[in-house]
């Protein structure tokens, strides 16, 4: 059973447009929801993260929207740039107890065309 479901699988956006990636989770014990960015040949790098006690978090051009009742969260990339072209993963984990691993979605490949 996939605990974190991510969509779409791939996304093409014009330069300057808004990229939106969605995730849904099953386990209500999850309380940390990060987004990771991965370039080819590199490991995932933390982009932005949210706790369920807030509905939105913004850092620069990146915003996470969180809907606790629907068990959904999304990443919005404003003013998308060609340099944003990468694979994005949503993830979730339980409380910050020792050894809690991240549960990742399957990823979204974003291409920003110039």
């Amino acid at each position: 059973q996939q605990q974190v479901k991510q969509s779409p699988q791939s996304l093409i956006v014009q330069k300057g447009g808004i990229s939106i990636i969605n995730c849904a989770y099953e386990n209500t014990a999850f309380d940390y929801f990060p987004w990771y960015q991965q370039f080819p040949g590199k490991g995932p790098a933390l982009l932005i993260a949210i706790r369920p006690d807030v509905s939105e978090k913004k850092e620069g051009r990146f915003t996470i929207s969180f809907n606790k009742s629907a068990k959904q969260f999304s990443l919005h990339i404003m003013d998308s740039q060609p340099g944003d072209s990468a694979t994005y993963f949503c993830a979730a984990s339980r409380a910050n107890q020792a050894g809690t691993a991240l549960i990742f979605g399957k990823g979204t490949t974003l291409s920003v065309s110039s």
Binding site: V4, Q6, Y32, P34, G41, K42, G43, P44, A45, L46, A49, F89, A91, S93, A95, N96, Q97, A98, G99, T100, A101, L102, I103, F104, G105, K106, G107
Partner: protein, 116 residues
């Protein structure tokens, strides 16, 4: 070093061979995680170390997979009698604390294992 270092970057193994993958975490990082990332998929948890203690190995897919961190720093993931389904990128992550929200939770660039 400045980041998590993994070696080798690429490994081609014949089916049935044993392989050893190395992870050098950031100096002083207590926690170390191994993940497996199949092509086109998200990383999946394999095992977790806190210092030299392996506290969780629930994600290891079979008894052919073995990990160690004898001195609480460098870790080695060993795969015995490799199979084609073991082909993947193996990622290592380390952090100062014990969970994903801990400061400095950083992934290495991974080792791409191809079993032929």
């Amino acid at each position: 070093g400045a980041g998590v270092s993994q070696s080798p970057r690429y490994k081609v193994a014949k089916r049935g061979q044993d392989v050893a993958l190395r992870c050098d975490p950031i100096s002083g990082h207590v926690s170390l995680f191994w993940y497996q990332q199949a092509l086109g998929q998200g990383p999946e948890f394999l095992t977790y170390f806190q210092n030299e203690a392996q506290l969780d190995k629930s994600g290891l897919p079979s008894d052919r997979f073995f990990a160690e961190r004898p001195e609480g720093s460098v870790s080695t993931l060993k795969i015995q009698r490799t199979q084609q389904e073991d082909s993947a990128v193996y990622l290592c992550a380390s952090s100062l604390g014990s969970g994903p929200r801990a400061p400095g939770y950083t992934f290495g660039s991974g080792t791409r294992l191809t079993v032929v």
